[in-house]
Symmetry: none
Subunit: 201 residues, 4 copies
């Protein structure tokens, strides 16, 4: 018997490149057609690979979608977390989160925009492993912030939900405008969460 010691060679490079090619094609096609309308054929047609090759890398369009989302989430999660960890007060916690998120959305439009294409009837929201982990992380950070007195004693699940809802919904609205202004979006969301709508005395 032989022990195989992998040395990165052409084969391994091709494998990585193919995987990336499929993910890139999927990103493009999902953005164009929406998740529901996209078929595996559409994705593979957008690469120069053979149809069977898709199945060497992913079992289904669901799986490639997840990989796609995981990639995105892995890019944004550490940045969001770093902002929150660094936060010394409630202003930094809230403002840092929204600024980072809207900046990311503005950069990475395609990732965020996966959808609202199915005859304009549906909106599909990301929720891969990594995205869910990101939500979870936010909730944990909120709990910690509440315990440390950084945030007031509020229901952390609801607060997480509120931040997520506002981030995604305002994110969409922001992208619909020209020019895309993440600063303005972040300011709005931050002010809402810090001060609410009622004028302070």
């Amino acid at each position: 018997m032989n022990v195989r010691v992998p040395v990165p060679g052409k084969r391994e490079q091709t494998k990585v490149a193919n995987r990336e090619a499929i993910i890139a094609a999927a990103r493009k096609v999902f953005a164009e057609l929406g998740f529901g309308a996209t078929t595996v054929r559409d994705i593979i047609r957008a690469t120069d690979l053979a149809s069977g090759t898709f199945y060497n890398y992913f079992k289904s369009k669901e799986e490639v979608f997840e990989a796609l989302q995981d990639e995105s989430a892995l890019r944004i999660r550490p940045r969001l977390r770093a902002e929150r960890v660094r936060a010394r007060n409630i202003e930094e916690f809230i403002a840092g989160t929204f600024e980072t998120f809207f900046d990311y959305v503005a950069q990475d439009r395609a990732d965020f925009h996966v959808a609202r294409k199915n005859t304009d009837i549906l909106r599909v929201r990301m929720a891969s492993q990594q995205v869910i982990a990101g939500f979870e992380e936010l909730r944990e950070d909120i709990k910690v912030a509440v315990d440390s007195g950084l945030l007031p004693r509020l229901d952390p699940d609801f607060l997480t939900a509120a931040m997520v809802g506002v981030a995604f919904e305002i994110g969409e609205m922001m992208l619909a405008r020209d020019p895309v202004d993440p600063k303005a979006a972040a300011e709005f969301a931050t002010s809402l969460f810090l001060n609410g709508l009622r004028p302070r005395p």
Copy 2:
């Protein structure tokens, strides 16, 4: 050829009844399977009609989905609008909106819950004609409220998006809990929008 023998006591299904039967079946099936996984066959199988009959009423599952959402939106829209019109101050505007919405969600779980079934990866959000009209209505009301001084001078699009995002996201969270407590959800959202998180002096 089949001979149809009417059975007394069960009246013939009228056109309206057939339409309703299809919508009801669709509501049930969408809730079970999610939109993407549902086929026209699934819907028609859940009625006692024949497959061809579906096409006398709807062109596609998209169309029946829209009709379904429209029905829902038509139930909730007037109530939301009435709340906002009746509002004499910012507290009533915000609290009325959220209370009404979460009450509706708690009642009509199936309608709201259409989905998150697609392999648990996706969340599908309603956005039929009527739902969009409802969003539009909210934005109009917000504009009017801003002009009349009821609400502070804020970007109405962003505010609409924020309310919608919070309503849907907290709505989901609320439904995930036992018992479902629309009052608590409304209080949380209302307080957030009125006061923000920062303690008032």
Copy 3:
């Protein structure tokens, strides 16, 4: 609600005709290609129906194969049984069985010949519900015949197996010859089973 009383009409006729067309095509294609090499596409291509129509009648080629065998077995089983029931002595029991079987085989070559086509490597033997039932029936009749003293006290399972093996194997050999002579085949098998090879004193 209506009660549907079927009256044989054009629709029902077409259904029966289509089912028969598929079975006939399958019989032809199995005989040509053998079971293993045959695809559903091959079968449907041999009809003038559309590919999807196949699935209105059968779930797979296995299912149509079974239907095919059942048809055959249903034709031959009652005749075999009648011969055995009528038998007044061992000669009639054995001779009746083989004569009837080889006559049937000679008539219905295609049914019997399903196979030995896969590069001449394999022989596929029928064993649908009905064929198995036919074997079972033979065993039961043998048991009865043993109990009534018509047949000597032998292991009925082995005797069944022996008759089946000889019937099928000699059947094949008979078909390979020109002219096909069921009489001769039956005489050979009958004599073997009645007298054995050892010359009687």
Copy 4:
């Protein structure tokens, strides 16, 4: 690129060993899955070789199947032949053949049992070059035995078919029983062929 580091104590697989490994894997997989359902991938997966390697040894699963059967036939053929050559009378000819065959079957169950797995519908019978040669050999020996007066003047083709049919069919029945009793099977078959069913005076 991979670097192959030889591990001492485990010798390199030679060409012969690889061929044997593939045949052994095929024997196992055919017995489990049946011939029709088995794929080349299944076979190669049951070895520790790579898929491409299969094609250095065999062109298709048909070819490996033949090789498999040839191996079996090469084991049993000489023994059968020896029995028949040694036979000094009809009793020895018949009894020797069946005893040897059923002993072999009892030993080498897997080889004989290749199949009846295809949804329980089919029985697949071996018929490789070597197996056919074995049948041929039997026929030749029968002819010789007829000419020498050892066997009565009967149609040698039919007699060959009858022996083959009985051997295989009773072989299956024997394997289905517990305990497997080749002696009893041989006795039954021998008595049938020697004496027939009709009581001798």
